[in-house]
Symmetry: C2
Subunit: 528 residues, 2 copies
């Protein structure tokens, strides 16, 4: 039977160490400092900062953190390293020296706990491996550090013959460190975890941790299974970054443990920061947030099929496993070609528009047609509103485009310059302007603003904040089309507009033009 289930589980984030092994992830020292701040804000107990001495970046991180550039309110900063070398002494080992120099109160050591890995990849004896752990822990503790030991390949070792895993855990615990059971290969299933953790729990009297990778697709479930067998310290990464398939996603682990099992993880009053911190970290590490990520994804509480939308409108909790606000996320009703007239009517109402039945029918048909061509109005509320207004016969009167030309020169001296020339009418007045930019969109935006600025000074409050491009290939392999999304803000509201075309410049113009029209419309501007 399971050990006692802990009331509280320590959350240990390793985004800055193990997570940064993720393919495609590359963090500057400034990025790392900012991620650490976000983790502290969320209330994560341990923040593993990196391996001092292993590379200049991690070295600099700990130096700047120690110099006061990182002020953590609650979190404990951890330095990571290996045990002393086989046959060496902790006192003279360079890794030990680097760990002391990092100046953190907490140290996490990695040590192989599987006999196969010790003999085959480390090329030493199991007896020496145990001495390496004991010596290193003792040395660090004598120097005032609290020590955690990541038992690398614990699960592989457990399922090998023999009981070395037991000796290993005893040595770690008796040396005064906390052992963390690591599924280094990430291949465990929850049922195996239950067995291997359950037996470890009987050997280790005090704190016991677990660390999972997602290679079997079960990292979150494995973390939960480990806790239900008595583990009270879970390692992973916010958003599940990490080598191969990633580490256990701490956002899901935290939400599942606290909201579903009533186990304390981060402070309860900070649970509603989960979505914001997840997205903020994604932004810092420059990874597009996964819209389908459990709890925190933008689609996590989005409902699309007509059958569901109507039900949710009647009983909000009928189709949500938790209250999205508990994790700082929100319900979202999504328009798409699959949606019927009812969804369009609902959306129009939310936008403050009143559409007749005929107009709703027109919008439904037009959406089908445009989504077939590659548009996705689900993510482009700004353009969707303009489309709905157009259904009522509305037509923007801020300007009428005559033509534009965008020229990019790569010059003989290697310099690159883009200029846009635009011709348009404001009322009856014909205006032409030219502007430079560091790319086609920037140049077009500058030219359009130059042309409209004198008539619409409110444009100065409207800014483009993001620009996304996706190349869509039709499954039939015919011409590729480009979809451009532009995010804009006027300081109060934010909106997204869309353009689709075979030509990226035209797609960009479409999204840009919608963005400016939407902004002027809501600034109360009047065309002429």
């Amino acid at each position: 039977m399971p050990a006692e289930i802990p009331k509280r589980v320590e959350i240990f984030d390793t985004t800055l160490r193990d997570g940064s092994q993720a393919e495609g992830l590359s963090l500057t020292v400034m990025d790392k400092l900012r991620v650490a701040e976000q983790l502290d804000r969320l209330g994560v107990l341990y923040v593993e900062g990196g391996w001092p001495g292993a590379n200049p970046k991690d070295q600099e991180f700990f130096e700047r953190a120690a110099a006061g550039e990182l002020l953590l309110a609650d979190a404990r900063l951890v330095a990571f390293g290996a045990t002393r070398k086989a046959g060496g002494r902790a006192e003279t080992d360079p890794v030990m020296a680097d760990l002391l120099a990092a100046g953190t109160g907490y140290v996490c050591l990695v040590a192989k706990s599987s006999p196969w890995h010790i003999t085959e990849t480390l090329r030493t004896t199991t007896a020496e491996a145990l001495d390496m752990v004991a010596d290193s822990v003792t040395f660090l503790r004598n120097n005032g550090k609290v020590v955690i030991v990541d038992a690398e390949h614990y699960f592989d070792g457990f399922f090998e013959l023999g009981s070395f895993w037991r000796d290993f855990l005893r040595v770690v615990a008796e040396s005064g460190a906390m052992p963390v059971l690591c599924d280094t290969n990430g291949g465990m299933l929850p049922q195996q975890v239950e067995r291997a953790v359950g037996e470890a729990r009987e050997v280790v009297p005090g704190g016991l941790g677990a660390h999972f990778h997602n290679d079997s697709g079960c990292a979150v479930a494995n973390s939960i299974a480990a806790v239900l067998r008595g583990v009270d310290h879970v390692q992973g990464c916010v958003n599940g970054y990490g080598e191969r398939t990633g580490n256990a996603d701490l956002t899901a682990v935290i939400a599942d443990l606290s909201l579903k099992l009533g186990i304390e993880t981060i402070p309860a009053e900070r649970m509603a920061l989960l979505t914001a911190v997840s997205r903020h970290i994604a932004e810092i590490v420059n990874r597009a947030p996964d819209p389908h990520q459990p709890f925190v994804g933008t689609s996590a509480f989005a409902h699309k099929a007509g059958i569901h939308t109507s039900a949710i409108a009647r009983a909000p909790r009928a189709y949500s496993h938790v209250d999205p606000e508990a994790v700082g996320n929100s319900n979202r009703f999504v328009l798409s070609e699959m949606s019927g007239r009812a969804s369009v009517a609902l959306k129009a109402e939310q936008m403050g528009l009143r559409l007749t039945n005929e107009e709703i029918g027109y919008v439904v048909d037009r959406l089908k047609e445009l989504e077939h061509a590659g548009y996705h109005f689900e993510v482009a509320d700004g353009s969707l509103e303009l489309l709905m207004r157009a259904a009522t016969g509305w037509k923007q009167s801020f300007f009428r485009l005559e033509s534009h030309r965008v020229v990019t020169d790569l010059r003989e001296d290697g310099g690159v310059v883009t200029e846009a020339r635009i011709k348009l009418f404001v009322g009856d007045e014909r205006i032409m302007e030219v502007a430079e930019g560091n790319g086609p969109v920037h140049a077009l935006d500058a030219a359009l603003r130059k042309a409209l600025g004198p008539v619409h000074p409110e444009l100065s409050r409207i800014h483009l904040t993001d620009f996304k491009v996706r190349v869509l290939e039709s499954a039939a392999g015919t011409a590729a089309i480009t979809r451009v999304l532009i995010d804009s803000t006027d300081g109060d509201r934010t909106w997204t507009t869309i353009g689709v075309s075979e030509n990226i410049i035209e797609a960009s113009w479409e999204a840009l033009s919608d963005s400016i029209v939407y902004g002027l419309l809501h600034a109360g501007a009047v065309g002429r």
Copy 2:
């Protein structure tokens, strides 16, 4: 204690029905036919095609499938629908008529199995709900159909007070259909699944299915837990597409059940198709494959950290939970700024290049510098090879660019045209050419080919196959930079090249130029 674990589990894919509820997913009828073929190729037993009558696309899908446009070797095509309406009769229900008209041998009916949902969202009595199921199953079976019943909200119902779930399962089984336990809200944890499935297993004598969504991050683990409690039919979607956080990812479910638990799912000899089919389906539905997806992702067996790379080179199985070839994937050693000299040397060797120690040092430094600027050579083997060759003092001599100009006109009549003018030297000869294209890259590519074609006829075998654009925003919020990736092929080999710049045209040129140089180099062309 658990029920007997089944030796064989039926795999039921619902990508074309439930999966297509995913936000941002929009499939044409042709897409749907092609996805069904891929599922059949993989050996999935059931392919749910859609809801005939619910929308014109699904209607057309079944019509074209019945007309012979879809030839499934082994898979069973399933039509989805609801039970008869409350208070109505199956014989006159339009949904029943649509299901018969779909012409499939198999039908999957959805029916609410939670009293709360029946009374609150369906607004009928539990007694009528049971009659709706029994009548509909009987009617369809009398018309020769094999019937599966998706017990919607089964788990929510199980954990409500009362035992209606038991009545529901009995009625389904006694009517002659197979019940499928659905976690419609997706919030279950494996430990809850074990309990709720275990009790269902005692009520249902024959086949029993389960269907999970990933809202708690546990859909794969929940599917496994259900099988270990006696479920022998699992529903989900290849790649885990679906509403909100997605359905259970069948690629992971299949691999875990078969490779780790020895349970038959798809035919064993097709397991190695898993990666190819997963990526093929991603391509058809126009979703970028998730590189971190368990088993089938391009990063799933990629190893980056120096500590691991050297170990894997010595003992290939030390860091892989399964043999990647078993699922048609492969080990991959990845270069990055975190990699040291050893990885660069290994990569150079794989490319057939011999670098001196000094040259390796240069490459390591240059990689750091360029990755800092936004390059990612992990995904751009073509550009990486050129960079490594450059370290040896090699310089491409196919052409020397003088300048180029790209002009895009949006004309007064609404027409758009892009032309590129290029000036370059081939040997001592100065060449200038102009060409049109449906966008800047296309036009530049056309102009470059016009200029080089007469000297390098082997260019006609080299084609661009894909073009990706990503806008990278530095965390500090300064100028956005654009990263362009171009995939190319000469029929035998394929390669990827990269360009990074504030200006999208320059980034495109860089990737394009590398692509052509790489292609000519490997076509054995000689510059002059």
